[in-house]
């Protein structure tokens, strides 16, 4: 058997063996940890409504007629409960949410803006009883906006190519949240859990006047604003306890 020969489209067998050994070795301390403590791995879907009453949200509402801006997507989390600290879970969560602003421009052409929010969060939660869990978290997030339009308020033949069409802007910020979770279903002696949560997030990003797609004032000039990326969210997640 030739292990070193690589064939296009298939992973190298020698490489696969290495990965397998590495996974087994890395999972050993995890299993030892799980024997004494508890580990919960969960994944789920989330839906978050952004407020449109202030700053950039208000600009989107007034300029593009946005009535409801909702981000939805999935998240994945790993939490640990130490044997010595009863009821307290500490973990890490990674989430990815997307949203769209669909509109018709003044010429009647259908356009859309895309929003994508990636977040990495350090989570804390406390099991109030068998069903209820109270939690919170702090973390950072990155917003990517793909917006159609223009950036500069003075467009000439020289800058029009850089100004018009779809431009992508990114911004980074921090977030905090509070969450109340109810475990809807516990199966196999709480090994498998289906849970529902309500979350309130606080997160604000700065959209600078020099941004590719800034907010514009009444005279159409770019102005610096803040984009409130917080708001109410609902989650359904499925978890496995070890």
């Amino acid at each position: 058997m030739n292990f070193s020969k690589n064939r296009i489209g298939f992973p190298q067998r020698k490489g696969r063996l290495h990965v397998l050994i590495l996974v087994v070795l890395l999972s050993l301390p995890f299993q030892v940890f799980a024997e004494k403590n508890s580990v919960n791995i969960s994944t789920g879907t989330m839906r978050q409504q952004l407020p449109l009453s202030l700053a950039y949200g208000k600009f989107l509402k007034e300029r593009y007629g946005v009535k409801d801006l909702t981000l939805s997507g999935s998240n994945f989390a790993v939490s640990f409960k130490f044997q010595d600290i009863k009821g307290l879970w500490i973990g890490v969560e990674r989430g990815q949410l997307q949203g769209k602003v669909k509109y018709k421009d003044l010429n009647g052409t259908s356009r859309k803006h895309d929003l994508e929010l990636e977040q990495t969060i350090l989570t804390f939660s406390y099991l109030l009883d068998k069903s209820w869990q109270l939690g919170g978290g702090i973390g950072n997030n990155k917003l990517s906006r793909k917006f159609y339009g223009y950036g500069d308020h003075s467009i000439t033949v020289n800058n029009i190519a850089a100004n018009s069409g779809i431009a992508e802007s990114t911004s980074k910020g921090t977030l905090t949240y509070g969450q109340l979770t109810y475990h809807l279903l516990d199966l196999n002696q709480d090994r498998f859990q289906l849970s529902g949560s309500y979350r309130y997030t606080s997160s604000v990003h700065q959209i600078r006047a020099s941004d590719q797609r800034p907010a514009l004032n009444t005279q159409g000039e770019p102005v610096s604003t803040q984009f409130d990326l917080g708001g109410h969210a609902w989650l359904i997640h499925f978890g496995i306890n070890f």
């Binding site: 007629g65 009535k67 909702t70 339009g149 308020h153 467009i155 000439t156 033949v157 809807l184």
Partner: protein, 265 residues
């Protein structure tokens, strides 16, 4: 048992709130194009203005190389494209064939007096009389053989330049608009062109062009400034207020650039 019923109810509720991804409907945007000068100053004539336009007759302009009989009518057709919008704004205009004491002058150039690729431009020079001018070319100076513009092109160019002169001192980012900075097949103001014009006339201008007159209370001076040597505009609007800007929609063709489309300023 009770928990099971609660859980089922909550699960259904959450699935409704989280799972149902409603597609947001397409709302009507107010995506006006930019309309201020490069300095951010807003210049327009104000509602209720009466604009007296000097337009040379075909006979008086016939000596200019490339001038075609019928251009006079083509310019009038280009200006008329804005009639409905102007009526909504309460702005009226009339033509005069005599030069002097006009609000706006239409001037012809054989294409040699402008930079390569430029078909026309709108400008304000407070020291000239009249201070507001639309310069139209008779031909494309970069084209082999220098053919004269078609009447349709003259109409489109006039409509675009009048859009500047009325108050949109920038350009559109969309090829569907007459205020797009290159000549296309579009010869009439689009919905966005019209909506932008009407919107900006709802805002008090930094300078009302109707009041820009050597004899008015406003004092104005011009100078050559800026690295691109463009005509730099400076108006003193009172003791503590100065406006700087390019009332001309300045734009320069980069050296070595191959022009595929005639350029509108």
């Amino acid at each position: 048992m009770k928990k099971g019923i609660y859980s089922l109810f909550l699960l259904l509720l959450l699935i409704t709130m989280v799972g149902c991804k409603e597609e947001s409907s397409e709302e009507q945007a107010q995506d006006y194009m930019p309309f201020t000068t490069s300095s951010g100053a807003l210049l327009h004539w104000g509602s209720g203005a009466v604009i007296k336009i000097y337009l040379p007759s075909d006979a008086s302009a016939s000596g200019i190389t490339g001038y075609q009989s019928g251009y006079n009518a083509a310019v009038k057709a280009g200006i008329a494209k804005w009639d409905v919008t102007l009526a909504n704004m309460g702005v009226t205009y009339d033509f005069t064939g005599t030069l002097g004491n006009n609000d706006l002058k239409i001037e012809w150039d054989d294409g040699t007096g402008v930079e390569t690729g430029v078909l026309g431009f709108a400008t304000i020079n407070s020291q000239a009389n009249p201070s507001r001018k639309i310069l139209m070319t008779t031909r494309e100076n970069y084209t082999t053989g220098n053919p004269s513009h078609s009447a349709a092109a003259v109409t489109a160019i006039t409509g675009h330049e009048l859009g500047h002169m009325l108050g949109i001192w920038s350009h559109s980012f969309d090829t569907a608009d007459l205020m797009y900075p290159f000549l296309t097949t579009i010869a009439v103001p689009s919905s966005r062109d019209k909506a932008t014009m009407q919107y900006l006339y709802g805002i008090t201008p930094d300078l009302n062009l109707d009041q820009l007159d050597p004899n008015s209370a406003l004092t104005a001076e011009s100078s050559q400034q800026g690295e691109d040597s463009g005509f730099f505009f400076k108006i003193n609007c009172g003791p503590n207020r100065e406006l700087y800007g390019y009332p001309e929609t300045e734009s320069y063709v980069p050296p070595g650039m191959s022009l595929l489309r005639p350029e509108l300023r």
